[in-house]
Amino acid sequence: MTYLNKADLKVVGTRPIRPDGVDKVTGRAVFGADQALPGMLVGKLLRSPHAHAKIVSIDTSKALALKGVKAVVTSADFPDIASEEAFVGEGPMNFRDLSRNVMARGKVLYHGHAVAAVAATTSEIADAALALIDVKYDVLPFVIDVEEAMKPGAPVLHNDLFTQGATPQPTEPSNVAKRVQFALGDVDAAFKTADVIVEGRYTTEPVHQAYIEPHACVVSVGADGQAIIYSSSQGHFMVRAYCAKLLGMELSDIRAMPSEIGGGFGGKTLVYLEPVAMALSKHSGRPVKMVMTREDVFRATGPTSGGVIEVKLGARKDGTIVAAEAILKFQAGAFPGSPVQPGCMTCFAMYDLKDVRIIGYDVVSNRPKVAAYRAPGAPISTFGTESAMDELARKLGMDPIELRLKNAAKDGTKAAYGPTLQNIGYIPTLEAAKAHPHYSAPLGPNQGRGVASGFWFNIGGESSGSVHVNEDGSVSIVTGSPDIGGSRASMAMMCAEVLGIPVDKVRPVVGDTATIGFTHLTGGSRVTFATGMAVTQAAEKVRDELKVRAAKIWDIPPDAVDWKDGMAVPAGANAGGFEPLSLADIAIKAAKTGGPIISEVSVNAQGAGPGYATHICDIEVDPETGHTTVLRYTAIQDVGRAIHPSYVEGQIQGGAAQGIGWALNEEYIYNAKGELDNPGFLDYRVPVASDMPMIEAVMIEVPNPRHPFGAKGVGEVPIVPPLAAVANAVRSATGMRMADLPISPPKLRAAFDAR
């Protein structure tokens, strides 16, 4: 059943203290690196000093001979896996690529690529052992830039990589892994009908998810081959699946335990350390702990792609867009798998377009393999399309919100990526933006205002949740979704709403792979939607069972019992004159009425409502230094239904802040040797507290009828608009179109000088 009438809700929509809150403010919460096991060894990785090289030989004998060293592993200690596509994480993953990313086999493909690992009794001995491993390399030419990598004659990373989706099918290997295309209508003909055309070429640099918690795990493999993994990830079922595949084990031989996770944003949707720690534990017979340094995190995990986005828009004088085209070239890093496909699918999804074509290229180069990052691909492609929309508005002399309203996607719009959109709330975000006092507030000298919108699909998928009524009438929830930003609170609230009890009577936990049914990872903005659906259904089954038990106690038929405000009551005067039975009253008698009252529900949730957002950004530039300050920021988003509004606002604010960082200062900087030159928080410049204004989050609620409470995913779409919102604001302040991110001070000052 559904609970879409907001007026009826007592718990959903309120702002209770999150159930795991006290642990998090007192230091009691156990994160990945906080775990310890008796007899634990320290595991460390040796990483490639080259951007691209053939591994000629690896001699580990001296390291193994060092006192205190208990195991050394290389790719020879892992099965050589055949190419096999799977969908276990947030995007498609090839197991062979994953295996070779975890431990280089034959070739190293980027500076920082793992080549060997040791387990030793102390950190110092592990370091000394790494220094004793003798790797002979045959250094190869490398390529970092995406367009360089696409050129004929570029150093080829994989000799067996032939462009998929290209016609004719190439006969020579290249770095272009894939070409994808999405189209509606006849774009070329439609452009001929345009009164106005704008064209632009936009670029973004790779940026890292930059979660504050480095990857960490503790793995113990018993002599019977049974393994237990404690790790910080966005999905312990994902960890189990990948480790089983990479080590050649059965899923049931591995128990993956979720620790608290210190941020992920997509970057913890695959494995780096766990399979290595598992191999080391197998060889040593002891538990092994591995923790990345911050430098490891930057060099060898994440980031997301940098990209080139070429956009062409054609419109009539009245602002109607008649044709739109985008060509996207995304860096995948060392292995195929950039988010170019979702980049293509999202970049025009805000608009109702009849003639549109988007072409994308997935390109490998000698950089770390990219990982998902919040709305993967969409911020990159949308930076191009929403910057172009701003240019189109200027060329037409139209207000940028009016232009968007004129062309906005609405219920019934056929999206270029396939579906017909339903229950979407894009237009309300534009109308709210237009009416917001921010949009008409005065601006001072060197100040400018930008607007941009964004889209993200949101996903559903497989989730499990169980609800247990305890003997005293309190309630426990178990789900399989790692809680990355407050989802336990939402689960408890939805359960409490269904059962009609106070939320503090419900305690949610995240169960391990052996204690709860399969649950896809925390990503795609799916947890409140899909896991929330499982928990709601489990709570409903419990509620039905409570009515059955009350009926037994009263000795009346179950359909003569109603459930109201957490109590069983007779359904009407004819049912009998019984005093209401509280949940606790029924729980205490459960043994006598049929035993424990529990329910576990697994779903494959469909119908996640797409998310839309419109952001307004004010900036001020210092023309002499090129410094940009964000003065004011308003983020308006259709959230479906805010289960816990504070955490929905938090997602919006956090996504906006990450997008602002992407726009202004974050970037991967490579030196001439193909080494990442800024692998630390000193020079990889995420926004700090003093960089940011308050971020006003405006929640629009267009409920999603496919979710019991109307929820839509909210976590990803807020990172989509900010890149263009900032650039459009800089355009407004300076008259200059900054088409290359980040808009760092040297770049902006140079633009002023060139004017």
């Binding site: 702002r15 999150r18 403010v25 007192t26 230091g27 156990v30 979660y211 504050i212 000193l682 507290a689």
Partner: protein, 158 residues
């Protein structure tokens, strides 16, 4: 060289430990004293997740040698609450939902306590600059700053 014996005070209790010279105070707190509330986000003083108060000043415990703790008075996140009573800063972080993943939270709470001990009435700008060394990637800082300002107001009795 053999390990060095250090006598110190941690969260009001006398404590002693053995340390090698290169070990940081953070290593000691986490690995020897099993106080894992202080986090390592960078190991280079750039993220603030390991913040502790040492003799009244907030410092990054990753940038203090364990041996330097000799004779010092150290407060970690585990020492901020009084028994079951949360410190107002902790309470306000919860009320304002000023955390998502919670990994940076211990450092932010320790640094905020140090701020309010010194400056009970900070401006928003002062709070933002004081906390600039505490990176948070989840929240965009909005709710954190609101929690800090509200905690300050409550502690002033305003």
């Amino acid at each position: 060289m053999s390990k060095i014996h250090v006598t110190t005070t941690i969260n009001g209790e006398p404590a002693e430990f053995l340390t090698e010279p290169q070990m940081s105070l953070l290593d000691i707190l986490r690995d020897e004293m099993h106080l894992t509330g202080s986090k390592e986000g960078c190991g280079s003083g750039d993220c603030g997740a390991c913040s502790v108060i040492m003799d009244g000043r907030v410092v990054c415990s990753c940038l203090v040698l364990g041996v330097e703790a000799e004779g010092k008075d150290i407060t970690t996140i585990e020492g901020i609450a009084t028994g079951e009573d949360l410190h107002p800063v902790q309470r306000k972080f919860l009320e304002h939902a000023a955390l998502q993943c919670g990994f940076c939270t211990p450092g932010l709470i320790v640094a905020t306590k140090a701020l309010l001990d010194r400056n009970p009435d900070p401006t928003e700008t002062e709070a933002r600059y004081w906390l600039a060394g505490n990176l948070c990637r989840c929240t965009g800082y909005d709710k954190i700053i609101r929690a800090v300002m509200d905690a300050a107001a409550e502690m002033r009795g305003a």
